[in-house]
Symmetry: C2
Subunit: 442 residues, 2 copies
C-alpha cells in the first residue's frame, strides 16, 4: 500500500498563513507602487555553518515542494486577513487568485552544503516570490538542522542501525519532520507512528518502564510481552536490577530473544556485562539496544562496545546543540519590470553589521581534486567555467509553478551517503573545526 493513499495524518489545507505579517504588507506596498511585478530572484543560503560543524545537509526540499503547491489563500484565510485589517481590499483580491507561477531551483535533497551555497533559488515576480519566504525558511532551517545532526550520528554509528525516538522531546509535528530528516541523514527507523504513516519510514518499538511497573513482578511483564509479541521482541532490562532482568529475560524468551534495551547507567560498561551474560546464557544472537540521551559523541564512544543499535531522542530532534540553521532568503537580483528580456540587476544589503551578502543570480558547483574528492564549493554569477559545467549543484525543482518531480526518501538518503563520501575524510571527524572545503566566489 502506498502510504500516500492514506492522506496526511495532519491535513494542511493551506500553507499560506505560515507567513510573516510583513510579507503581506510589503506585497501591498509593492502593488500600490507598481513594483510588485518586477522580475526577482531570491536565494536561500547561510552565512555560516553552526559553530564547529564541517558541512551542512540539505533536507526538507520535498516538504518545500508540498508547501509551495499548497500555498493559496482560501476564503477562511482571506476573511481573517480582512477582519484583522492586515492588508487592503486590492491586496486581498490579488491574494485570492494567488498561485506561485515561477521557478524554483535547488540543491538536491540530501546534498551537503557550505557557507554561501545557494541552496535554493526562487524566481518570479517580487510579489509571488516574497510570500514564500517564511515557509521555505521554516522548513529548510528546521529539517536541515536535524539532518546535519543525524548525519554526524550516522557516521559515528558506523553501520549500526539508528532509531529515531525523539517525538516526545519536540513539537508533535516538528517530530514528524524530524523523523523524515533523520532518515535522510542516515537513521534507519523511527518510533514515531505519524512519521511511518506520512513518509513510510519503518517504525519500531521496544518497551517502557511503565510496562514493567504495571505488573506485579518484572517476570510477569516479560512473560506478557513475549506471549503477546513473540520472542523476537525487545525487553527493557533496567527497571530494577539489570543482571537479574537479563537472566529472567532469557529464561522466559529463550536464546531466541530478539533484543534487550538498556536505558540508563554507564552504557559502555553495562553493554559489555550484558553481552557477556547473554553469551553465557546462550543468547548469542540477542541484540543489545542502548538509549539514554545519546548524541554523536556518546555514540562514537560506544564504537568498541557490543552494541547492536542506538536509540536517539533529544539530541537528534534538537539538532545536537544546533536546533536551527541560519539560512536566510534574500533578494539577490531584480529587473525593472516583469519583462523577461529586461536585464536582472544584482542587489545586496550594503550596511555594516556583518549581514551583507553577495548580489546576483548564482550558480554553484563542487570542484573536485585529481582523486575525485571535493576541494571547493564554487559559487558564481557569471558564466559557468567549462570544467565545472558537469558539477553544478542547482537543479530545476519547479517550472512555471509546476513541481517537476518528487523523489522517494530512499533516493535522498542514498544521495546523502554519496555526497558525504565525496568530501575530504576530515568531514566526518566529530571535533570542532571549519567547513571541510572552502567556498570560492567567482
Amino acid at each position: 500500500m502506498d502510504t500516500a493513499d492514506l492522506g496526511l495524518p495532519v491535513d494542511v489545507p493551506s500553507t499560506a498563513l505560515f507567513t510573516d505579517h510583513y510579507e503581506l504588507t510589503m506585497l501591498q506596498a509593492a502593488l500600490t507602487a507598481g513594483t510588485a511585478g518586477r522580475r526577482s530572484v531570491f536565494e536561500v543560503f547561510t552565512r555560516r555553518l553552526p559553530e564547529g560543524r564541517r558541512y551542512g545537509v540539505v533536507a526538507g526540499t520535498g516538504r518545500v515542494l508540498d508547501a509551495v503547491e499548497n500555498f493559496r489563500f482560501d476564503p477562511g484565510v482571506l476573511g481573517f486577513l480582512r477582519e484583522r485589517s492586515v492588508i487592503d481590499a486590492e491586496t486581498l483580491d490579488w491574494l485570492a487568485g494567488y498561485r506561485f507561477g515561477g521557478d524554483v531551483w535547488g540543491y538536491q535533497e540530501g546534498e551537503v552544503y557550505f557557507p554561501g551555497s545557494p541552496i535554493m533559488r526562487v524566481e518570479g515576480t517580487f510579489a509571488e516570490c516574497v510570500l514564500l519566504e517564511t515557509v521555505i525558511l521554516s522548513i529548510l532551517n528546521h529539517d536541515s538542522a536535524i539532518a546535519a545532526a543525524a548525519s554526524r550520528m550516522s557516521s559515528a554509528a558506523g553501520g549500526r542501525p539508528l532509531i529515531e525516538m525523539g517525538a516526545r522531546r519536540t513539537h508533535e509535528l516538528a517530530a514528524v519532520a524530524a523523523s523524515r530528516a533523520a532518515y535522510v541523514g542516515g537513521f534507519t527507523s523511527t518510533s514515531d507512528l505519524a512519521a511511518g504513516f506520512r513518509y513510510g519510514i519503518p517504525t519500531v518499538g521496544t518497551s517502557a518502564h511503565a510496562f514493567t511497573l504495571l505488573h506485579d513482578r518484572e517476570r510477569d511483564a516479560f512473560q506478557a510481552q513475549v506471549d503477546s509479541l513473540g520472542r523476537d521482541t525487545t525487553l527493557l532490562v533496567d527497571t530494577y536490577d539489570v543482571t537479574e532482568a537479563v537472566r529472567t529475560a532469557v529464561e522466559i524468551a529463550g536464546p531466541e530473544l530478539g533484543a534487550v534495551r538498556i536505558d540508563s547507567g554507564d552504557l559502555l560498561l553495562v553493554a559489555h556485562r550484558v553481552r557477556q551474560q547473554l553469551d553465557e546464557l546462550g543468547a548469542t544472537n540477542t541484540r543489545i539496544i542502548v538509549t539514554s540521551d545519546l548524541d554523536e559523541y556518546a555514540i562514537a564512544s560506544l564504537a568498541a562496545a557490543p552494541v547492536d543499535a542506538y536509540g536517539v531522542g533529544t539530541q537528534l530532534v534538537t539538532g545536537s546543540g544546533h536546533p536551527t540553521c541560519s539560512m536566510v532568503y534574500k533578494l539577490v537580483a531584480r529587473a525593472e519590470s516583469a519583462d523577461p528580456t529586461d536585464p536582472l540587476v544584482p542587489v545586496a544589503k550594503k550596511s555594516s553589521g556583518g549581514k551583507t551578502s553577495v548580489g546576483g543570480r548564482k550558480w554553484a558547483a563542487r570542484r573536485l581534486d585529481e582523486h575525485g574528492v571535493a576541494e571547493a564549493e564554487v559559487v558564481g554569477t557569471g558564466p559557468v567555467p567549462d570544467d565545472l559545467r558537469e558539477r553544478q549543484l542547482l537543479v530545476p525543482l519547479v517550472k512555471d509553478g509546476r513541481v517537476l518531480s518528487r523523489e522517494p526518501l530512499d533516493v535522498v538518503r542514498e544521495r546523502h551517503v554519496s555526497a558525504r563520501a565525496g568530501l575530504p575524510l576530515s568531514a566526518t571527524q566529530l571535533s570542532r573545526g571549519e567547513a571541510v572545503i572552502p567556498t570560492e566566489y567567482v
Copy 2:
C-alpha cells in the same frame, strides 16, 4: 469575530498517531495479559531544570486538552496500523473504540514549576493513559521550553513590548505553538499570521531588506511603504547607510513616522545615534524597534538604550539554548484491577543510573514565607498538611474524559506574571544558578 469560527489553519483530524510505536505494542501485551485495565496514575515531571535556570514555565496545557479530545483512531489510521502489522486484530478493535475516559489534573498553564513538580497527572486504566504519553510530552516539552525563554526575555525587557519573529527559524507548525508559548511567557505580539489566526495573538510586521532592494532607491521604497501603509508604519533603516535612511524616512513620513527598525550593527550604539537623530528631526514620537539575534542577555544589555520594542526570533523559538524540557511521563501508582476501591500501589524504577523517580500519586503546593513569597515547592503523597491546603497547584482539567474548561490565553498570560512575581527576587536574575526555591518531598 471569534477566530475559533474560522477553524484551524491546520486541521488535525486526529492526534492518535503522534504516538510512539511501543505505546501500542505495550497496550497489546497488556490486553493479552489482562493487565491493561489496571487503574493507573501517570505523572509528568522533570528531574531537573535546564542548566542554570531558576524556574520553569508550564505552557501547552490548552493544547494538551485539544490533543486528548482529538485522540482517536479513525479508519485510515487503523488501516495503516493493520497494514504495517504494528499490532494484532484484537488491539485494533480495542483502538477503534478508544476515547480517553479518565481524569487529568495539572498545574494551571502559565504557572511556574521546579524539579519534581508533578505538572500533570493522568489517571485511568493503564491502556487509556499509556497511549497519551508521547503527545502530552511533545506538547509540554516544546511549549514549556519556549515559554521559559520568553519569560526570561520579558523580564529582561521590563515593560517594553516584545515581538515574536521566529517562524522562519523553526518548523512551520512548531512556530505557531512557539508564538502561543511566547505570548504565555510575556511576549506582546507575533509576526506569524498562523498564530494570529489560530490563537488570536496580535500580529505585526515591519519591512524586509528585500523591499528596499526591490526599488531603484531607498527613498522610493520608503515612499511606497508610507503611501500604502500610512505614516504609522515601521521603516527598515539599515539596508545602506543608517543615518541617511533615517533622514530620508522622516523627510518622507514626517514626524508622524511610526517607527524605524534596526536589524544589524551594534544595536546599543546605533539606537542612541538614531534616537538623537530622530529627536533632532522632530520625530520625537517615532519609536525604535531593534532586531538581530536577540536573546535575554542582549535585551538586558539594551535596558538603558532608547529602544521601544524588541523583535526576537531564533533565540526565542529555540528556547534560548534549551529547546526542550526534560519532562517525562511516568507510571507512579497502579492498582491490581480497574476497581476504584482497589488500593493504588506506588511504583518507581529502581535501578541505578540517575533515572530513579518517586512513586505514588502526588499533590503539590507552594509554601510561602511570612511576606507571601514562595519558599518551597512541596510535593507529597500522603494527606495534604492543613497549612498547604489552600496553596495546592494541581487542578482538575479533564474529568471522565470530558475537558472541564478552557482558558483564554490572556488569563494564562496574566497568571504567569503573578506566578513569577510570587517567587523570590533572584528568580529573574539572568545569571546561571539553581532553582530559586527547593523542592521538598513529604
